[in-house]
C-alpha cells in the first residue's frame, strides 16, 4: 500500500520533485548578486569543479569560477544545509514534545548557543581563530541541553511537559545573562547584537562540511526512528505497549536534534521561525507521518532559507540580517496559518 499525499504523489516522486526544486534554486541563486552570472555558466562551473575537467570553463570570464566556487557556493550551501537542519530538528522536537508549536528554541538550545557566543565575543581571545565563537556557541548549546534534560528527568522518565517547562525557565535565565553581557560589553556590544541576529556572510567550505556532516548523519538517524516517533504521538503508555523503547528513542532523538541545532546556530547565529514553520507547513501538505514529513521538511526548509538569504544578499539594496528577515516574514505568516486553522476548527 503506497500512501499518496494531497497532490497524489508517492513519497519517492514527492522527494524527487522537491530535490529538483532545491537544485534549481541553488543554481539560480548562485547566478544572482553584484556580479550577474548566466545560469548556463554557473552549471558549467559546477560541473567542471565536480568532474575536475576544466575544458567546461572555455569562454567563461576568469573571475566567474572564483566568485561561484569560493564566494557564493559556500554561503549558499551553508544557508541551504542550515535551513534543512533547523527544519528537521523542528519536526523532531514537535514530535518528541507532542506539541506542533515546539521548535529548536523551545528547549533553550539556541539561548544556550547565544549565551556561549556572547561570552566568546566578550572575552575576544585569540584562540581557535574564527572558530572561537562557533565553538563557544556549540558548548553553550550542548551544556544547556544536558541541563534541561537533567532538570526534567525524574527516576529515569522524561515527560514532555517537564521538558518544555525546563526549557522555558533555562532560556529565560540565559536571556537575562545575555542582556547582562551586552550591558558590560562596551564597544563589543554591536558585534554581539549582530551575531545574535544571524548571518551567512563570509561562510567557508569548512562551514559547509561541518554542517553537512551533522545534518546528514542526523537525517539518517531521524529516518531510522521515524516510525517509532509516529507511534510515540499516541502517548508514552500506548507507545511502550506497542513495543517502542520510548525513553531510549526520546533521548537519542533529543540529543541528535539538539546537536543539529547547536551546529546550525553556531555557524549562522540565531535564525528563528524556520524550525517552527517548515514542519508545520509540511504536516499540512504531506500529513503527520514522520517518514514523509522529515524528507519533505529538509528539502523545503533548505529551499526556503536559501531563498530568504538570496533575497537579503542579492535582491534587497542593503543586506539585512537573515534572522531578522525570517522573523519578519515567518512571524506574520505563522500568525496567518495559525488563525486560519483556528477558524477552520470552529467552522468545521
Amino acid at each position: 500500500m503506497m500512501e499518496k499525499n494531497k497532490f497524489g504523489l508517492s513519497l519517492g516522486a514527492q522527494t524527487l520533485l522537491l530535490a529538483i526544486l532545491l537544485c534549481a534554486v541553488i543554481v539560480a541563486s548562485t547566478g544572482m548578486g553584484y556580479i550577474k552570472i548566466p545560469t548556463l555558466n554557473v552549471i558549467k562551473i559546477i560541473v567542471s569543479e565536480i568532474s575536475g575537467n576544466h575544458k567546461f570553463l572555455d569562454g567563461i570570464n576568469h573571475i566567474f569560477p572564483y566568485v561561484v566556487v569560493d564566494v557564493r557556493l559556500p554561503r549558499i550551501l551553508t544557508a541551504a544545509i542550515v535551513g534543512g537542519g533547523l527544519s528537521i530538528a523542528g519536526a523532531i522536537f514537535q514530535g518528541i514534545l507532542l506539541n506542533p508549536l515546539a521548535d529548536p528554541y523551545t528547549l533553550g538550545i539556541s539561548a544556550g548557543a547565544a549565551f556561549g557566543a556572547s561570552i566568546a565575543l566578550l572575552l575576544d581571545v585569540d584562540f581557535l581563530g574564527i572558530y572561537f565563537v562557533p565553538f563557544f556557541a556549540f558548548i553553550g548549546a550542548v551544556a544547556t541541553l544536558f541541563f534541561v534534560i537533567y532538570l526534567s528527568s525524574f527516576s529515569g522518565q522524561i515527560s514532555s511537559n517537564n521538558l518544555i517547562l525546563s526549557g522555558i525557565i533555562v532560556a529565560a535565565i540565559l536571556s537575562a545573562g545575555i542582556s547582562f553581557i551586552k550591558y558590560v560589553a562596551d564597544e563589543q556590544v554591536s558585534i554581539i547584537i549582530f551575531w545574535l541576529m544571524g548571518s551567512f556572510g563570509s561562510k567557508t567550505w569548512t562551514d559547509v562540511f561541518l554542517t553537512f556532516l551533522f545534518v546528514s548523519v542526523g537525517f539518517f538517524i531521524f529516518i531510522f526512528f521515524a516510525r517509532d516517533l509516529n507511534i510515540m504521538s499516541l502517548g508514552n503508555r500506548s507507545a511502550a505497549s506497542l513495543g517502542v523503547e520510548t525513553n531510549r528513542v526520546r533521548v537519542i532523538l533529543l540529543i541528535t536534534a539538539s546537536l543539529i541545532t547547536a551546529v546550525c546556530v553556531s555557524v549562522s547565529g540565531i535564525i528563528g521561525f524556520v524550525g517552527l514553520i517548515v514542519p508545520h507547513l509540511m504536516r499540512f501538505l504531506v500529513g503527520p507521518d514522520n517518514r514523509k514529513l522529515i524528507p519533505a521538511s529538509i528539502l523545503v526548509g533548505a529551499t526556503l532559507l536559501l531563498c530568504a538569504d538570496t533575497i537579503t544578499r542579492a535582491v534587497l539594496p542593503t543586506e539585512i540580517p537573515i534572522g531578522v528577515l525570517t522573523a519578519l516574514i515567518g512571524g506574520p505568516f505563522f500568525c496567518y496559518i495559525f488563525r486560519q486553522r483556528q477558524i477552520a476548527r470552529i467552522m468545521g
Binding site: S238, S241, L242
Partner: protein, 257 residues
C-alpha cells in the same frame, strides 16, 4: 500459562501503592479488577505491560520473567487500551489503527497483506470504517476511544488489557466493543484483564473478579462466589444487594441512598 504475580511491591515516593500482591491468571478468561479510586489498579496494569517495574517480587508471563522480554516481543503478546489518550497530530483513523500492527511489521517494511486484512476486519467490526479517512484530531471523545480500542484489537495479541477502556462511550458502543472482546475470549481463548468502574457492566462480562483495596487484593474468585454484598462492603464501604437478574442472565448490584 498466563500471568504469575508473586509478592510485588510498588510505591511512588513515600506512598505505598501495591504491597505484597500475589495473583495467578489463566488464559481464556475475562478478568475484572474492581476497587475504589487510587487503590492501585492502574499501577498493577502498568506492571503487567512492563511500563513500570515492581520494586520487589516477580511477574512471570508464560513461565518467563517479564524482565526477560524485549518491549517488541512483549508487544506481540499483550495489548493495552489506556484510559486517557491525547493525540495532537492529524493522523487519519486508518493510520492510527494500522499503528496497532507496529510490532508485527519490520522496520522500513510496508504492511503485509495479512496486516491489511486484520486492519480491514477490525475497522469493520468496531464500526469505525465510515470515518477511516478522517483525522483523529477532529473526532469526538467517544469516537477517539473506539479508534484506540480498534488499534489494540489490531495488535492481535493473546492478552488484552483494558484500563477503563469504555469510560467515554455510549451504551451501544460499550456493548459492541465488550461483545467483540468477550467473543475473542470464548472463540480464540484470549485473556482479557479489565479495570472497570461500573460493577453491573463488569458483571455482564467478567467471569473472574479481583477486588482491590489499598494496594492489596482483598478477594478474588469466579463471579458466582466472589461477587457478593460482603466483598462490595469491604472494598467500597457501601451497602448493596446482589441478585441474579433473569433478563440479562447475570448478577446485578443495586444500591440505595
Amino acid at each position: 500459562m498466563g500471568f504469575a504475580i508473586s509478592h510485588i511491591n510498588f510505591s511512588y515516593g513515600n506512598g505505598r501503592v501495591l504491597s505484597d500482591l500475589s495473583l495467578n491468571m489463566e488464559p481464556g478468561r475475562f478478568y475484572g479488577i474492581v476497587g475504589p479510586n487510587g487503590c492501585g489498579k492502574t499501577t498493577l496494569l502498568d506492571i503487567l505491560v512492563k511500563n513500570k517495574k515492581p520494586e520487589s517480587g516477580t511477574v512471570e508471563y508464560k513461565g518467563k520473567n517479564l524482565n526477560d522480554y524485549t518491549r517488541k516481543s512483549l508487544a506481540k503478546e499483550i495489548a493495552l487500551v489506556p484510559q486517557d489518550f491525547y493525540i495532537n497530530f492529524p493522523f487519519t483513523v486508518m493510520e492510527i489503527v494500522l499503528m496497532g500492527r507496529h510490532p508485527h511489521i519490520p522496520r522500513f517494511s510496508a504492511p503485509s497483506s495479512k496486516d491489511l486484512k486484520i486492519l480491514g476486519a477490525v475497522m469493520a467490526e468496531t464500526g469505525i470504517e465510515k470515518f477511516a479517512h478522517r483525522h483523529i484530531t477532529e473526532l469526538s471523545g467517544g469516537e477517539k476511544q473506539r479508534v484506540v480500542f480498534a488499534r489494540a484489537l489490531a495488535q492481535d495479541t493473546p492478552v488484552l488489557i483494558l484500563d477503563e477502556a469504555t469510560s467515554n462511550l455510549d451504551i451501544k458502543y460499550t456493548l459492541n466493543l465488550l461483545d467483540i472482546t468477550a467473543g475473542r475470549v470464548k472463540t480464540e481463548g484470549k485473556t482479557v484483564i479489565a479495570v472497570m468502574q461500573n460493577l453491573n457492566l463488569a458483571a455482564l462480562y467478567c467471569d473472574y473478579w479481583i477486588f482491590m483495596k489499598k494496594g492489596k487484593i482483598v478477594a478474588h474468585g469466579d463471579i458466582d462466589e466472589a461477587l457478593n454484598e460482603e466483598n462490595i462492603k469491604e472494598v467500597f464501604e457501601v451497602e448493596s444487594k446482589v441478585y441474579f437478574e433473569p433478563y440479562s442472565k447475570s448478577k446485578r448490584v443495586v444500591f440505595k441512598n
